[in-house]
């Protein structure tokens, strides 16, 4: 139980609520963004070790001492990738919304139900 992860999960839940209840497409995408942010927080929190510093070997962190001084670098690397992917997905979703709005002049998700059953 740690604060960042709690916050992360909270954001995931908030984002999910937005995704599930908001009718506006943009808001749904915002919901996704919130989820994404939450997930990133969770990832970061996983790598965190109390009282340690960033995994950059410089004057304060010697190579020999690194193992005891730095936080886990792997989640940091992962979150970098995750952020970029999240960005790409968000951008693509927004583009879909733009196209959908251009075609149907509506931003409500309820107006896009012609395919069903």
């Amino acid at each position: 139980m740690n604060l960042v992860m709690t916050l992360g999960f909270l954001l995931v839940i908030i984002g999910l609520w937005a995704m599930l209840t908001q009718k506006n497409l943009i808001k749904i995408i915002i919901g996704f963004s919130i989820i994404d942010t939450g997930v990133h927080l969770i990832i970061v929190s996983i790598g965190y070790i109390k009282g340690r510093t960033a995994p950059i070997l410089d004057a304060s962190v010697s190579v020999a001492d690194a193992a005891n001084k730095i936080v886990d670098p792997i989640p940091s690397a992962l979150v970098l990738t995750a952020i970029v992917i999240g960005l790409a997905v968000t951008a693509l979703m927004l583009t879909f919304v733009i196209k959908l709005y251009q075609k149907n002049k509506s931003l409500s998700i309820d107006d896009y139900q012609e395919l069903k059953w």
Binding site: F32, L92, F96, K99, L100, Q113, K116, W117
Partner: protein
């Protein structure tokens, strides 16, 4: 020997450069694009070959110069290369399929497509969980973008829903990955073990696996996928359905080792549920691509289930089952989606435009049959082995769900097929596109290649068992010949085939050999009347006849079942040739398939056979378990049209082409009889404690009586004969079920007799139909004057049916009643008496309505049936007369056959046959009858004086004259009073039952599919709820 990493490198390099290359010329970019795709295929094919045939060890590729888990590694083994080979192939051919579009569309589409294929390759090869996430995203994002390939509003909204679902799933995936890292300290699946996870840690595994599972579109969290399938361009959607699914499925396969068993079982069951429900919901679907979507989802569910269920099976079985389903799904789904791109019509009933192109129609058939698991395509073998496996591991619930799902699948696939082949062409025929046809044909070739490989290499079937398929191929090649030539060739082929299989190991085989082969050969003569080319007819006819023959020489369950399925499919196709046969053939196929599935399970329950002798012999020493007996009996009784499952029978008989009906009735039904006899042979020695055959016997006699009544109430001559067949086969079934000497003698006697008189009757009716162009008996009448030869056939035949002495029918009746009474089946004998009395009703009806009474104006100038119809009729009549006058010709051999299993209960003394109850001397009866006939005839000739021949209207008519032949001919609703007397018993309850079963299923399907509201948000909700539910069910 190029390292597979170059697939990624080259794809990316070219992908990045593609837009620049395109600035110069589209041709260059296209060349580069197709070059890379071909390169992928070649590299993987090379590796696949090495793994499979040269035994090269699995290849591991480390990146960044470090070993896993420090760096990401890729792995290429035989499984990976197998999956990749086919995904890349499909990718390449889908690209070829899309050639025209790629030529015209934005360069980005090429890039996206290339990267998509790259993503698939990476996803399959990588061993690192986070890397999987990255590749999954590459795959997803390129797919999301490509969904808008058609740039329609629908595809946009479908794409958006797809994205919503995709991001939800990938969120879970990401969470799963990082928590797995948290617990295991590792991201490489080779270094992760299930044991590293604490009780709560398995939540991480759950999140990972459920994310992948949702990507596999489980029911009901799969609405988004359906929308995508429906809306997106067919070329792209084939990639989504096949390539993407394959990659993700492989992903699932890769993580399977780290998942706890309880997860897998739940996923397996969820897969089964997906399969069942997807196929069920597809029943209501009219749109081709959405239908295929449902089917794809179902297939993937089945694949997941089979992956899970085969986990502990021997390696070669896993390959056959999972590989079989995989290949099957891949080829047929891609093929069908491509066809949908060629057809360009949304509604399945518009697919009949395919009839404009013969080879496309054949391809369509191949894909559909492959998808439906019809032999010889891969799905059939996979299903057979899966059923065996499930039975042995006692997973009966999953088994029945899978079979039910398969049945639903058969229903909608074959409905589609029959609609395509039969309905009137309304839509306009599109222009055929060469690149599309090329790609699609290629898949057909692969499907056939695989079928051949499995049959020849895996199972090692001898040529004789492949012969039915070869016959189709050969006849297809010489299909340009006129039908008479093909007919004669077929006749020769059947005779040669009969000669080839002739030396049988037992008499019972010889007996059925005569029924199947000689009967068919004589029946073929009637097909010689066909004019024109009759394209495709003789191929399937030969396939059916060879299947009959193969049934009796089958030495194990699989050979038998394979042959059985060949028989079913060929007869289905023959029935389908009838003008109005769409519904009838569909019903036949559904019932046959249901029966086949029961048989499949029944065989799976049966103990293994020893030795290499035909089933007829080897089954005698095998104790079939009760469940096996029940299932097999039901399966065979469906084929022989027993009460309750008979409703396919009249439809199929009536709607089939005139000369096909005789095959179906006279010979095909005997296949069911033969099957039941097989069960009986085991029953003789090892009767189970619960006497199931007692009830089979009851069903038999009830079939006899109900069939007789139904026949009496028909207006359609062929339906009447069909119900008559049902009734007669009911006798046979009951007699077999007695499992006594006399019972079997009478059953075989009746079977032989029925083959002859029913062939003769159907061919006679075929001749009449040929002349009158109607099957409604009340539209005929008085034809005795015009078609005396046909009349004599029908007369002799109906006497033989009715059991009136002195013809052979009486022998059957005498044997059967004696058998029943001495076996203690008294009430059953009473019912049979009733049935045989009722049979007079329909027999009189058919002969009177057609031949007697009033000749119609339009038939005044009608001629006798063509000689090709007359010849076989009289051959059969000759047979009937021969065994009537000399019953010993048949009784003695049959006695010997039955004595093989029982002690003899009859004594044959000269021409007399004595049973413990009574006696019968066919010869004396014949002589006395002749005498009793001739003497009154002479008396009459002596006394009659001047005889004035008059015409049909010279009748006393209450001092009036008849108005017209139509109003004077009493034929319509002839037994109305009987129907009235039967009251509520005359209601078509069984028909109503099946009808409402069908209605209910469709209504349920309609009800359930309303969960797919079309709202992307709801789909996300489905996913979340599904995750929660699965989580609870798994009890993580």
């Amino acid at each position: 020997m190029v390292s597979p990493i170059y697939i990624l490198i080259l794809s990316l390099a070219i992908g990045f450069l593609l837009s620049v290359i395109d600035k110069t010329n589209r041709k260059f970019s296209l060349t580069a694009f197709y070059g890379v795709l071909t390169f992928n295929v070649l590299v993987i094919a090379d590796w696949f070959y090495r793994f499979l045939f040269l035994g090269v060890p699995t290849l591991t590729i480390n990146t960044a110069g470090f070993r896993a888990p420090v760096s990401i590694n890729l792995q290429l083994g035989v499984q990976e290369s197998f999956v990749l080979l086919f995904t890349n192939l499909i990718g390449l051919f889908a690209a070829i399929f899309l050639y025209k579009k790629f030529k015209e569309s934005n360069i980005s589409s090429l890039t996206l497509y290339l990267i998509l294929i790259m993503g698939v390759n990476g996803l399959v090869m990588t061993r690192d969980l986070f890397n999987m996430y990255v590749f999954l995203e590459i795959l997803s994002i390129s797919t999301y973008s490509l969904t808008s390939f058609g740039k329609t509003g629908k595809s946009l909204s479908a794409g958006f829903k797809y994205m919503l679902a995709g991001v939800t799933a990938s969120t879970f995936f990401l969470l799963g990955v990082v928590f797995i890292y948290y617990f295991s300290g590792n991201l490489n699946i080779d270094f992760i073990q299930a044991s590293q996870f604490t009780n709560y840690g398995s939540i991480a595994l759950f999140l990972l696996s459920i994310a992948i599972f949702i990507e596999l579109k489980p029911f009901p969290a799969n609405g988004w996928a359906l929308d995508v399938y429906e809306a997106v361009d067919s070329g792209i959607v084939s990639v989504i359905a096949v390539v993407n699914s394959a990659a993700i499925l492989f992903l699932f396969y890769k993580i399977m080792p780290i998942l706890p068993e309880r997860f897998l079982n739940v996923f397996g069951i969820a897969g089964v549920i997906t399969f069942l429900f997807s196929n069920m919901l597809a029943l209501k679907q009219k749109k081709a691509k959405r239908l295929l979507g449902y089917s794809s989802i179902g297939q993937v569910g089945l694949l997941v289930a089979s992956l899970v269920f085969t986990a502990n099976a021997p390696q070669h079985l896993i390959y056959l089952i999972v590989g079989g389903f995989f290949i099957n799904h891949l080829i047929s789904k891609a093929g069908l989606f491509w066809l949908s791109g060629i057809v360009k019509h949304e509604n399945i009933s518009d697919w009949n435009v395919l009839r404009g192109n013969r080879s496309l129609l054949i391809l369509f058939g191949i894909f559909l049959f492959a998808l439906a698991g019809i032999p010889p395509f891969a799905g059939f073998w996979a299903k057979w082995e899966l059923v065996k496996l499930l039975v042995h591991s006692k997973m009966l619930f999953a088994l029945s769900a899978i079979l039910l799902g398969s049945l639903f699948e058969i229903i909608f696939l074959f409905r589609w097929f029959t609609l395509t082949v039969k309905s009137d062409i309304a839509a306009t025929i599109p222009r055929w596109d060469a690149s599309k046809i090329f790609s699609t044909s290629f898949l057909g070739v692969i499907a056939i290649f695989f079928a051949a490989m499995i049959m020849k290499v895996y199972y090692g079937f001898s040529l004789i068992h492949i012969l039915p398929v070869l016959a189709v191929l050969v006849i297809d090649i010489i299909d340009f010949l006129p039908s008479k030539v093909k007919g004669l060739l077929s006749l020769l082929a059947v005779l040669a085939y009969g000669y080839y299989i002739y030396p049988f190991e037992s008499n019972i085989q010889l007996f059925f050999g005569i029924i199947f082969i000689v009967g068919s050969a004589v029946n073929i003569i009637s097909t010689l009347n066909r004019t024109g080319k009759s394209e495709g007819f003789y191929g399937f006819l030969l396939m059916m006849i060879f299947s009959f023959g193969n049934l009796i020489i089958a030495t194990n369950y699989l050979e038998f079942f394979l042959t059985w399925e060949f028989m079913t499919i060929s007869s289905f196709l023959l029935i389908l040739r009838g003008k109005q046969a769409q519904k009838a053939s569909l019903m036949y196929m559904i019932f046959s398939t249901a029966g086949a599935y029961l048989m499949m399970v029944g065989f799976a329950f049966a103990p293994q056979l020893m030795g290499n002798s035909p089933l007829v012999i080897s089954l005698a020493n095998v104790q079939l378990p009760l469940i096996s007996i029940i299932l097999l009996s039901i399966g065979f009784m469906i084929k022989s049209g027993s009460l309750g499952v008979h409703i396919w029978l009249p439809e199929a008989h009536a709607e089939a082409e005139a000369d096909v009906s005789s095959f179906i009735s006279a010979i095909l039904l005997k296949a069911g009889v033969f099957g039941l006899l097989l069960v009986g042979i085991s029953y003789v020695k090892f009767a189970p404690s619960f006497d199931i055959f007692y009830w089979v016997g009851w069903i038999g006699v009830l079939t006899a009586i109900v069939g007789a009544f139904l026949a009496s109430f028909q207006e359609d001559a062929k339906r009447l004969l069909a119900y008559s067949s049902m009734s007669q086969v009911g006798y046979i079934v009951a007699a077999i079920a007695m499992v006594s000497h006399l019972g079997w003698v009478s059953a075989l006697y009746l079977a032989f007799n029925h083959m002859m008189f029913k062939s003769a009757l159907f061919i006679a009716v075929a001749g009449i139909y040929y002349r009158t162009h109607t099957r409604n008996m009340y539209e005929m009448g008085g034809l005795i004057k015009k078609m005396p030869l046909s009349y004599i056939t029908v007369l002799i035949s109906i006497i033989a049916v009715s059991g009136v002495p002195p013809l052979s029918g009486f022998g059957a009746k005498w044997l059967i009643y004696t058998a029943f009474i001495s076996n203690g089946w008294y009430l059953q004998a009473g019912v049979l008496f009733f049935a045989s009395a009722v049979s007079f009703l329909y027999l009189y009806r058919i002969i009177h309505s057609i031949f007697l009474g009033q000749l119609k104006y339009e038939h005044q100038d009608i001629k006798e049936a063509p000689v090709w119809f007359i010849i076989p009729q009289y051959i059969f009549l000759g047979g009937i007369m021969a065994i009537s006058a000399f019953p010993n010709l048949i009784i003695k051999p049959l006695n010997k056959i039955a004595m093989h299993y029982f002690g003899s209960s009859i004594r044959i003394d000269g021409y007399s046959i004595f049973s413990e109850l009574g006696h019968w001397d066919g010869h004396v009866v014949m002589l006395v009858t002749m005498g009793a006939f001739i003497v009154p005839l002479l008396i009459l000739l002596l006394l009659v004086g001047k005889t004035q021949k008059v015409k049909q209207f010279n009748i006393v008519y209450a001092a009036e004259r008849p108005e017209s032949p139509q109003t004077t001919h009493v034929a319509h609703n002839m037994y109305a009073h009987y129907r009235k007397a039967l009251g509520g018993w005359g209601k078509p309850r069984i028909w109503n039952f099946w009808h409402s079963a069908s209605e209910w299923t469709h209504s349920l399907a309609d009800y359930f599919r309303h969960i797919y509201t079309g709202n992307g948000q709801t789909y996300v909700l489905h996913i979340i709820l599904y995750v929660v539910v699965i989580y609870i069910v798994m009890g993580v």
